[in-house]
Amino acid sequence: MPEVLEAPLVVEFPFTRSLGPVQSAFLTGLRERVVLGVRTGDGRILVPPVEYDPVTAEEIRDLVEVAPTGTVTTWAWNHAPRRGQPLDTPFAWALVRLDGADTALLHALDAPGPDAVRTGMRVRVRWAGERTGAVTDIACFEPYDGDPAQPSGHTGDFENPVTGIVAPARLDYTYSPGRAQTDYLHALSDRRMVGERCPSCRKVYVPPRGACPTCGVATSEQVDVGPRGTVTTFCIVNIKARNLDIEVPYVYAHIALDGADLALHGRIGGIPYDQVRMGLRVEPVWTEGARHPDHYRPTGEPDADYETYKELL
């Protein structure tokens, strides 16, 4: 069996999220170094505050300022911080019940080591130097042995409240294509197109995915297909894709390679875009250093009869 192929895959996007009135007041407050909670129908103060009572689902809007000092209710020592976490030196994760609140807020606690942390210890907010209206405006908590800070009674009305956050997310993967696609990609590097035949319905799939989607059984018998094929259907692309150095308009087509029972897709070149037609016979054009054909061009053969490819549309 050939070696398993793998490649890095990064999934990364910024999520833009709008805020409800309670979330907006809380995050704007952090920007202004004010911590707000919300009062529930039964008089409890939730920090961080939410829009709806987690027990009764009642809409709650009554904002109450609490102190930036509080007590650790549970903690965990993180000796190896990971990407994106609040501190890049060892720290404790902590749930902190701020003075005046009835529930606890999750954040990092900067402490010299696990022996310096215990449940019940007193801490205070360390504010970030640059604050934008996000939970990271709290840089972390730090040990504190003074009296509870006295909140000023802020009502939650601010100039220029934040109405949304942008939360970037990035996840890193090692992509491996699986057994069938690995075999297909290995063959491509020898400029061969290899499909796989279903043992039950005898259809040949290219590129193969390892299973016949009709029969639900594994495919394994390799079959050389192409290199020539027939355009079964196509579209004319008029919008230039970013990072793609191809002049528009161009034709993108479904191509049934000879011997295959499923069409793959590719770009058609070597012919004006408005002369491409169903039934056009084409062959791959390879370029140095690329694993996949660059495009397909006409072979000059007569067009294929519709009857020969109508099942492959």
Binding site: Q23, A76, W77, W93, L106, Y175, R179, A180
Partner: protein, 341 residues
Amino acid sequence: MTREIAVVAFARTDHRRGADELSEVEMLMPVLHEVLDRTGLKTADIGFTCSGSCDYLAGRAFSFTLALDGVGAWPPISESHVEMDGAWALYEAWTKLLAGDADTALVYSYGKSTPGSVRDVLTRQLDPYYVAPLWPDSVALAALQAQALIDAGDTDEPALAAVAARSRGSRADAAPQGDYVVRPLRTGDCPPVVDGAAAVVLAAGDRARELCERPAWIRGIDHRIEAHALGVRDLTDSPSTRLAAERAGAFRRPVDTAELHAPFSSQEVVLRKALRLDDGVRVNPSGGALAANPVMAAGLVRIGEAAAGIHRGRSDRALAHATSGPCLQQNLVAVLEGDPR
């Protein structure tokens, strides 16, 4: 309840093996074939198909549609998917059978956790405003829960090590617990990262009796969720598990076996308490999620293992539990019984 519904077959991958060389469908397909073979059914005989998986695990968009290749979905089948553990796919299939819309159902789930960093991937399910921007990984959150249990006097590190050792089939004094991952949790307290898949077949009434010598009848099944804010919850308890168990009828009579989906040793402590399991109950004879935790399949595996014990005559009344979310946020409980012998 108007219709009796049973688990009639179960299959799972050998989760201890890596599946680097296989795509998701290549990993899943043998499990689907095995579960169908046990009943003699073909895809075309199945009334409803439901799957559970999560695209974020392997970073492949719409991976569940590719996984359908392994089912053989032509001519078109009646099919659904949940972006959750397969235990919740089973719940959906159960309601479908209960409503009389089908007599048989194929339920499967799979997860490839090894292509990504599952500790980080799972941060994306958290509150996106207040929690996810801090990237607290799944071990960190479980460690906060474990410390709360230690503070409450519900457990200590040696007791957690004993849970881990029992799950992995080794003696407590011989099994190295390893170093802290996030203190107080050590390597041995955390689930191994594996790839895997599982599948069950459900059938109603007489159809179940035709397909299986001793069907595992679902006497009750229910799932409940708690607040998403960790600081609102009592992390040493699981009221959602207890409520789901009540609604599933778990407390009406004792069970002989319990398959608990506790990815962390400390979570077994919470679940035993919430479910009032005493020492007479066999807990996780399969090894549980500490032996193998194929994310998105580990909950369905619990139901399948509980059912398989009944099929083989090793159990008469079993409880199966599945969880989802941080620190046991959402919980499903099913009660399974075999016919009297």
